[in-house]
């Protein structure tokens, strides 16, 4: 299990970039991180499809302290039920001021990764628990989650 204090740095990094350079740069940072740093995961997602994406996230969250997450595949769609977001939990438990747009890092980082792999990213909820979906770009819209 990894050191949860790194969540402090994730939160602080976003705050710094937002305050120093503005929201557009913060979004570009998150999206570039997804495309560039996670290039290897994107290749695996593109080649393996929904089952691989779901398994990737299941394993990823298993290594995050105090995460409670279920990953499932419904047809071609991957659904993540994030009951306890480990980052928000640790930041709250530690009394840290959480950036208002903290949860948007998932929209942009996971969104950029999803797009590069042929999927669309959707999120409902946030600030502690949410539902996320990876929907094939060719797939018809299923409605709001």
């Amino acid at each position: 299990m990894s050191a949860p204090d790194f969540y402090f740095a994730i939160n602080a990094t976003a705050r710094h970039i937002l305050e120093e350079y503005g929201k557009d740069v913060l979004i570009d940072y998150w999206r570039s991180l997804g495309r560039e740093y996670y290039r290897g995961r994107i290749v695996q997602w593109r080649e393996g499809g929904a089952a691989v994406i779901a398994e990737d996230w299941q394993q990823y969250f298993l290594r995050e302290p105090n995460a409670v997450v279920e990953a499932a595949v419904d047809g071609e769609i991957v659904e993540l039920d994030i009951r306890t977001c480990p980052a928000i939990k640790h930041l709250r438990d530690s009394g840290r001021v959480i950036l208002d747009c903290f949860c948007e890092h998932c929209d942009h980082t996971c969104g950029a990764m999803a797009e590069a792999a042929g999927y669309r990213f959707e999120r409902a909820g946030g600030m502690g628990s949410c539902r996320q979906r990876f929907v094939p770009i060719t797939h018809k819209t299923m409605g709001a989650i």
């Binding site: 050191a3 949860p4 990094t13 350079y21 940072y29 991180l33 990823y60 969250f61 995050e64 980052a87």
Partner: protein, 393 residues
């Protein structure tokens, strides 16, 4: 989500993002504002409350969570908090996962620790790191006398300390990379070393390094790789620089020649220090630690390390270095192992069949050579054989 399990990987990438978008100063500002004063504000809070003892407790807690293999020693009577790091899990993550996005990941520690200490009236007295996961620190409160500690666990007594290249601080001030040169930044060391010439010849070890085209154009300032320096296979003279390869088998011969040479005529020894390769112990064979070239290549956008993918051969790295130094370049001896003689290297018997090892590839070579030549523009003379190979690639 962005998790903590691979944080160190994209932390390194974040430094590079800020540096390429907003320049060197942006990274230092980030370490101070985001890391020292925000993310790690609990260090300053503990230090304000209880001085070095507060810092000690905070670091010990972090060490347990991050599974650090380190020893912290606190001696308040001597006003010193000492750290000896045997295996840094943070740098270790990058080495284990073959990551190297930014110029110098290890700089982030002094980048946030020094300003955090300054904010509570403390400071870094001394610090050294070898970029392989080993480092030591002495920290002190500014307002009291300080004495250094001599400890059995001093990481400098550990064989692992012999690897890598050192960055060093004394009294909070960075020391020069080379004893005989002032710069503290390896990029400046490289620029200074080669500043006496406008022309550089980059010699690979392929047969074209000794043909009539090359002989007629070779200049006084030459960069060779370690086997050439050790064996004189394609160059008899004294090179200005020697780039030691990532899997060198010639270190002892390099050391013998280097140490027999008058110090004023020795070449600058350089190395890539690639993260996925075993780190070489240069010190044990009697060599000074080479100067790293990746920071300069990364700064000039000439190299992006791709985890798990092939990387260029040492000769191609030498070419990229020459381009980063903005010289008029002559390049020969890089034949992509396709010389019509059937020989891979000069002096070897014809093999007619060359198999690329897993860590190199022809596509990687041509991509990097082409990008470097494009950046160099008209200031480079390329051996016609290599030019043809690139056209056909």
């Amino acid at each position: 989500m962005l998790g903590c399990q691979d944080f160190c990987g994209y932390y390194d990438w974040t430094f590079h993002y800020l540096r390429r978008k907003f320049g060197q100063e942006a990274v230092h500002k980030f370490w101070i504002q985001a890391i020292a004063l925000d993310s790690q504000s609990h260090y300053a809070a503990a230090g304000l409350e209880r001085g070095l003892a507060g810092l000690y407790d905070t670091w010990v807690k972090t060490g347990v969570e991050e599974k650090c293999d380190w020893t912290f020693t606190l001696d308040e009577a001597k006003n010193v908090l000492r750290l000896d790091m045997r295996e840094c899990p943070s740098k270790g993550f990058l080495l284990k996962n073959d990551r190297n996005a930014d110029e110098d990941y290890c700089d982030h520690c002094i980048g946030w620790i020094d300003p955090a200490l300054q904010s509570i009236g403390a400071e870094v007295a001394s610090h050294e790191h070898n970029h392989c996961g080993q480092c030591w620190w002495e920290m002190r409160m500014k307002d009291r006398p300080h004495e250094s500690l001599f400890v059995d666990v001093d990481i400098r007594k550990d064989i692992r300390w012999q690897r890598g290249f050192l960055d060093r601080w004394r009294e909070g001030v960075a020391l020069p990379v080379l004893a005989r040169q002032a710069p503290t930044d390896p990029c400046d060391v490289l620029r200074d070393w080669f500043s006496g010439t406008d022309q550089l010849t980059v010699l690979g070890r392929g047969p074209s390094a000794l043909d009539s085209w090359t002989i007629g154009r070779i200049g006084d300032a030459v960069i060779v790789t370690d086997p050439t320096y050790a064996t004189h296979d394609v160059y008899e003279g004294e090179p200005l620089g020697v780039l030691i390869g990532d899997r060198s088998t010639q270190l002892e011969a390099v050391s013998e020649r280097f140490n027999k040479t008058d110090p004023d005529h020795r070449p600058l020894l350089m190395h890539m220090f690639l993260p996925g390769c075993p780190m070489i112990d240069f010190v044990s064979v009697g060599l000074p630690r080479p100067v790293p070239i990746l920071p300069l290549l990364i700064r000039h956008g000439l190299y992006t390390h791709q985890s798990g993918l092939p990387y260029p051969t040492t000769g191609v790295f030498a070419l990229m270095l020459a381009v980063a130094l903005s010289k008029h370049i002559t390049v020969a001896g890089i034949d992509l192992y396709k010389h019509p003689s059937g020989r891979v290297y000069n002096g070897e018997v014809a093999t007619y069949k060359f198999t690329w090892p897993n860590w190199h590839s022809e596509a990687c070579e041509t991509t990097h050579i082409s990008a470097a030549l494009t950046k160099a523009g008209k200031s480079v003379r390329v051996h016609p054989r290599l030019e043809r190979l690139l056209r056909d690639a």
